[in-house]
Symmetry: C2
Subunit: 202 residues, 2 copies
């Protein structure tokens, strides 16, 4: 359904580039911090029986495995693969929830190159099937995190596909999204924002 | 919540054994076939816009990555980790769906050692949160696949924890579960069984 913008063909392989891996396994301090904070938030939700939301493991293509005697198996050759879904999903108040989380160092806009077409396709389908879908966007330099509901995100994505704008302006995110204030526990209480925007009743 | 039966302590590490990996990455023909059939069924559901259900990637702990110049990154050392959730989840008719799929060569019963306590804990939580949860059990020698709803599975799991019986008898599965006949497309139409058992309306 969705092609890469600017007429660029999508890559023939789903193996990811070094730059993508770096952002994937989060060598960047900021990225690490954001993903870590979401993980802790999800642990909090789990421990307090609020929601069951997990991060999906990074997809890996395994080529070679060694089985040393009396030791655990060692993967000796493997490659990163591109995910075909978002990173997080689960259940909240009986509803299916699905989201992607991305951090940017940019201070005024969120570059859409951070999100893959596969993931948007996936989110779009989930949205059509009645799931709660959104993108969590962290402006690391500003220390601000926003929840942008998919229905709003998708308008900007289509603008991107039409080669009109490569990013979503922070002021647009402020208008259409919900600021999630940092709290002590949980760190990023995104389900509070979900409850503000979506009809989720007990 | 749930401990291993027979008073055996759970292993101090979540790294899995060779035997578990073999069953995990499905060297066994039967296992491969079953997992493959579920994957194809899920693809069918996706293509026909029936449901969005994906298998989660196998969790891997990455230790060493090489970045050869002008080539894709290579994982040189990594280990299998035990999953903390089930293998499959997604959305069907707006509902959260979550299940584990297991094959056995056994002809008269399903040995519960095939399922990890972590996974049962996860399924139990999802069940309490109103998700549709079940186990798909494939008796490969008989070429029969059953859907066993979690609420029934859990009774047998508790019997297992009480050291009463290490497996679920096929006749018990026939009584409490639903036989999923093999069809051409999709191969294992488990959502038809879901609709027979659960209240899922359009």
């Amino acid at each position: 359904m969705v092609n890469y913008p600017n007429g660029k063909p999508s890559k023939p392989t789903d193996l990811v580039t070094r730059k993508q891996i770096n952002s994937k396994i989060e060598y960047g301090k900021r990225g690490m911090k954001f993903e870590d904070e979401i993980d802790r938030t999800n642990q909090y939700y789990l421990q307090h029986d609020i929601a069951i939301i997990h991060k999906k493991p990074t997809p890996i293509q395994i080529v070679k495995v060694d089985y040393p005697k009396r030791a655990k198996a060692v993967i000796k050759e493997a490659y990163f693969r591109r995910a075909s879904t978002t990173d997080y999903n689960g259940i909240f108040k009986g509803k299916y929830i699905d989201f992607e989380a991305k951090a940017t160092q940019n201070k005024t806009s969120f570059p859409l190159i951070n999100i893959h077409a596969h993931q948007v396709n996936h989110m779009h389908k989930v949205f059509q099937h009645g799931g709660i879908v959104f993108v969590l966007i962290c402006f690391s330099s500003l220390e601000e995190v926003y929840l942008l509901p998919f229905e709003h995100f998708f308008v900007y994505w289509q603008r991107y596909l039409n080669n009109e704008k490569k990013s979503i302006q922070l002021k647009e995110i402020k208008k259409d999204g919900i600021l999630i204030p940092y709290t002590f526990l949980p760190r990023i209480d995104y389900l509070k924002a979900v409850q503000l925007f979506y009809d989720v009743s007990d």
